[in-house]
């Protein structure tokens, strides 16, 4: 009994530390990652486009995310009762929109000169503008006549597909769902059709939906707008400076034409990767991949990497915000991109600082009683990275005191080697994490796609070894290298006056 359990355990250990991924690439450049596993009769499936807000430019900020919404609007087959008539109407709508845009730009110009108070006030519109809006509204009604509402969602739903959704981040856009094991081919059918024959219907009303999303996530939260300002201050040259959801003026201006040219470059198969984790036969999945996604045409060129690199920060930057929030300090240092050789040591530093037995909690919360919560995080993005520390001041304490105490902990990491037991503790925790993160099929699928978008999925199998190899010297060296005062940006939050208590 005991022996059997032991043998099993060893086999599992070897398996668990390396995710056995079968990779193949179609001739058109689309990559597939397969992880067949026994368990419940379900497959977690998704694909990622290697594009996010970092690939945008002023004028079209937010297009990656808006685009993600458009991918749910159907295809030439799904979502329409008469594709030819519908397309004709959509083109007419675009033409009217171009004219409306001109009117809107004239109003924005008038607002800039102080000739109208609010460019968005319908009362400021010219008769021509009003006429165009009426014409447009009539076309919306006409287009709706051809629409089969949310058919994509309904087909998946009646087949038991769950958690259908997508997410946009700075470096990637990911589309995912769980499908019952017997419905795998449905996923291939729909996803390939979304990429082959997309129709960006309801484009302009979806811009309004995204605007509501922005209001919900940013404008109507106590610190959302301050966080945007903080990001814009932290990144000087890098396109990471703008929000994923986009600036409001860009959201109002993006056209369907811009969305289409964005699609043809970034959603070509050579810029995509798909992943399946769960109960399926890999041979059959390969066949289906070929059959369905093999029809996609490779793009005329691979998208270029982002050209603009962050410039070196020369002086500390600070902002002081009065918000309906706890009194807090946020400290951020420029560090390194994902997969940089220093990343494991930076991540280990965050682990040494975090948790109930982490240095920050023990010192700032328990011993000095300056803070009620403290945390650290190392974030490696595709092109750049940062290390962030956040502390919440205990009632009666000033965030500046918390700030100073955090610097002391950061300086200690540079000044004194970490003890052996402390180092071993975070390494033990990483070993357990290596298994915990694999437990959910869905979670593993997302991790593989995100790693692939940021560089290569292989990193998730290489990371643990690198982490276990970090030494006390590495921690000291890295702490000295990145935690310089001129390399940091600080935000202090105070409770806004009038916000009780």
């Amino acid at each position: 009994m005991r022996l059997a359990a032991c043998v099993l355990l060893l086999a599992v250990t070897a398996w668990g530390q390396k995710v056995p991924v079968e990779e193949f690439v179609l001739p058109n450049g689309m990559k597939f990652l397969l992880v067949p596993r026994r368990g419940d009769p379900n497959v977690a499936v998704g694909w990622v486009a290697r594009v996010g807000s970092v690939n945008e430019r002023p004028g079209i900020t937010g297009i990656s995310h808006l685009f993600e919404h458009m991918m749910f609007k159907g295809t030439r087959t799904i979502g329409t009762s008469n594709i030819d008539e519908e397309m004709k109407t959509l083109r007419e709508m675009d033409a009217v929109r171009v004219e409306i845009r001109r009117e809107e730009q004239a109003l924005i110009e008038k607002q800039r000169r102080g000739q109208v108070a609010d460019a968005k006030d319908p009362k400021s519109r010219t008769p021509r503008h009003r006429e165009l809006v009426e014409k447009y509204d009539a076309l919306v009604k006409k287009a709706r006549g051809y629409l089969v509402k949310d058919e994509l969602d309904r087909i998946y739903r009646s087949a038991g597909g769950s958690a259908l959704n997508a997410g946009t981040d700075q470096d990637y856009t990911v589309y995912f769902i769980n499908v019952p094991a017997n419905k795998l081919e449905l996923w291939f059918w729909i996803e390939a059709d979304r990429l082959l024959n997309p129709v960006f219907r309801e484009f302009y009303s979806e811009r309004d939906v995204v605007h509501e999303e922005r209001r919900m996530r940013t404008d109507s939260t106590p610190t959302g707008r301050f966080q945007e300002q903080y990001e814009a201050m932290f990144w000087e040259a890098s396109p990471y400076s703008w929000p994923v959801v986009g600036w409001p003026s860009d959201l109002e201006g993006i056209t369907r034409e811009e969305a289409e040219s964005y699609f043809s470059l970034y959603y070509a198969p050579n810029n995509l990767a798909a992943c399946l984790v769960g109960d399926f036969d890999p041979a059959r999945a390969k066949e289906l991949a070929q059959q369905y996604f093999g029809r996609l045409q490779r793009g005329p060129r691979d998208p270029e990497p982002v050209r603009t690199q962050e410039v070196k920060q020369l002086a500390e930057q600070r902002m002081t915000a009065y918000a309906e929030s706890n009194p807090e300090v946020h400290i951020r240092y420029h560090s390194v991109a994902d997969n940089h050789a220093d990343e494991p040591a930076l991540l280990m530093m965050s682990n040494l600082l975090n948790g109930r037995t982490g240095r920050l909690y023990k010192s700032l919360v328990l011993e000095q009683q300056l803070a009620t919560a403290v945390r650290a995080a190392s974030s490696g993005l595709k092109y750049e990275g940062y290390f962030e520390l956040v502390g919440t001041a205990r009632p009666g304490k000033d965030p500046v005191e918390v700030e100073k105490a955090i610097y002391k902990e950061v300086e200690a990491l540079a000044a004194t080697p970490v003890g052996e037991r402390e180092l071993q503790k975070v390494k033990n925790q990483q070993q357990a994490m290596d298994f915990r993160r694999l437990q959910s099929n869905f979670g593993l699928m997302i991790q593989l796609l995100v790693s692939e978008a940021q560089g290569s999925w292989q990193t998730i199998n290489q990371y643990s070894e690198k982490f276990q190899a970090v030494t006390a010297d590495d921690i000291q060296r890295v702490a000295k290298k990145y935690f310089a005062p001129e390399n940091r940006t600080v935000a202090l939050y105070y409770r806004k006056e009038g916000a009780k208590p």
Binding site: V12, G39, R154, I155, L186, E202, E324, T357
Partner: protein
């Protein structure tokens, strides 16, 4: 490798519409509770689900207690006890030593007390099982309730309270519960700075002693262990636990009768308003629950396919988040709640659309396609309820704790399949009562009530007499007189 012609042939076999795809039937039977159920010598029930794919063990305990047992002058006692069982060390170990041991073992241990149950859990590498389990039971049996940790917890709770009116999400949830269940029901009790400060270490010790007896535990254990060996470990852990099985009073039902009308909370700083429209719902022993669930799925629970989302979001672009919920209550009736968040000016328009849809589903039978989509989804997604061994053990333990009928999962799919369009119409008429709706809006009151000047036909004032709810003092929870 295949050649180009073979690929072209494969591509040519693709059907022209996904409804033409043929699928093998999926055979699936839910886990049977008796296969995993064990009764320990003291009467405690344990569900053990072995699974050796990962070298991890998960132990979850549900404890018969809850915040509903707070003494009226010490609101917050149960929540604080649950939290301090984990934070305050043990009788043998200072919090710092206890935490160091757990962290070095790379184990995760948690504890808490919610509205109607206490929970504690351990997740550990199976090679560290014995050491982790010993610490876990030491915590459950003899928590230390360290005085410094208690004072830190009080500071943190007070800080949390001070933010009670900062976010419209929190305000909406709080006021909605009060409108639906009144301020006397435990589910709407609010701790205050004074109630927390009045709680002593002795109160925590006594609350723990009163309810944390293993005869009142339900275990859900999953992962890399041998069932017989695990049973022996659990038996050993509960041996010699002093005290007797506590008698725990039942969870009280609300006595409040909601007053229909339009309620507005002013939060001038935001440009988007959160709106809830609803009324009391049903309990989960109601045989109509299957028809109700299908009805709600069609109305607003079924993502984009549902009527409210389709109209408020994709037709009109008035909201990112919209829908409806009608989860049956376990201990007392749940609520029906339709919701959306929209810019202040378009709130009234979106509310009118939601009301229209509530009226429509009471008036006309749903289409055959809507019905089959809703039922198919619920039936096909069923295996996800048991997706991992930890979920299987957890679901079975929760059923035990809440005394769910034994045939529930076995009959679940056939009961759903039996729902007809007539049933949907009948339950819509029976449980949705437009004239009794409570409508709550949280946002910039002036802008919400002004509405969209180009669409004067929509106005919240047309939906009922508008009553203002002021923001309470966040530390005393006293509402200013208006």
């Amino acid at each position: 490798m295949m050649n180009a012609i073979a690929w072209a042939l494969l591509a040519a076999q693709i059907v022209s519409h996904p409804k033409m795809l043929k699928f093998e039937p999926l055979k699936y039977e839910p886990p049977r509770a008796e296969r995993y159920r064990h009764v320990l010598s003291n009467g405690a029930v344990a569900y053990l689900v072995e699974d050796h794919v990962f070298p991890l063990v998960n132990v979850a305990v549900t404890i018969r207690t809850g915040q509903y047992l707070d003494p009226p002058d010490k609101i917050g006692l149960a929540a604080m006890t649950g939290d301090q069982i984990r934070a305050g060390g043990t009788v043998k170990r200072q919090p710092r030593d206890f935490d160091e041991e757990i962290d070095f073992l790379a184990a995760n241990i948690n504890s808490g007390i919610g509205d109607t149950e206490g929970t504690a859990s351990l997740n550990t590498l199976s090679r560290n099982l014995d050491a982790s389990l010993a610490l876990f039971f030491e915590m459950l049996r003899s928590p230390g309730f360290d005085a410094q940790m208690i004072s830190l917890a009080k500071a943190r709770r007070a800080q949390g309270m001070s933010r009670r009116n900062d976010q419209t999400t929190g305000i909406e949830a709080r006021e909605w519960d009060r409108l639906l269940r009144g301020s006397k029901h435990f589910s709407t009790w609010q701790e205050t700075k004074a109630s927390i400060e009045g709680i002593t270490r002795e109160d925590l010790v006594a609350f723990h002693r009163k309810y944390y007896h293993p005869a009142n535990f339900v275990f859900a254990v999953s992962g890399d262990f041998d069932t017989q060996a695990m049973l022996a470990k659990l038996e050993a852990a509960i041996q010699g636990w002093g005290g007797t099985k506590p008698v725990v009073p039942p969870v009280p039902k609300p006595e409040h009768k909601p007053q229909p009308g339009v309620y507005v909370v002013n939060k001038a700083e935001v440009n988007q308003c959160r709106v809830s429209l609803g009324q009391p719902g049903i309990t989960r022993d109601n045989p109509d629950q299957y028809a109700v669930s299908v009805m709600n799925s069609i109305l607003g629970g079924g993502a984009f396919t549902s009527r409210i989302v389709s109209r408020v979001r994709s037709d009109e672009g008035l909201a990112y988040s919209a829908g409806s919920l009608m989860t049956p209550g376990t201990w007392y009736e749940g609520t029906f709640r339709a919701f959306f968040q929209s810019k202040s000016a378009s709130c009234a328009q979106a509310a009118d659309i939601v009301l229209e849809e509530i009226r429509r589903i009471r008036k006309d039978k749903v289409s055959a396609e809507e019905l089959s989509t809703a039922i198919n989804y619920a039936v096909e997604v069923f295996p996800r309820f048991f997706a991992t061994p930890a979920i299987v053990a957890g679901t079975l333990a929760a059923d035990e704790y809440t005394k769910r009928p034994a045939d529930h999962w076995a009959k679940y799919r056939e009961r759903l399949r039996a729902v007809t369009a007539d049933d949907v119409l009948r339950v819509a008429q029976k449980y949705l009562k437009p004239e009794e709706l409570v409508i709550l809006a949280v946002g910039n009151a002036a802008d919400i009530l002004k509405g969209d000047p180009t669409k004067p036909q929509h106005s919240l004032e047309k939906l009922g007499a508008v009553q203002r709810i002021p923001l309470p003092d966040p530390l005393t929870m006293v509402y200013p007189a208006q």
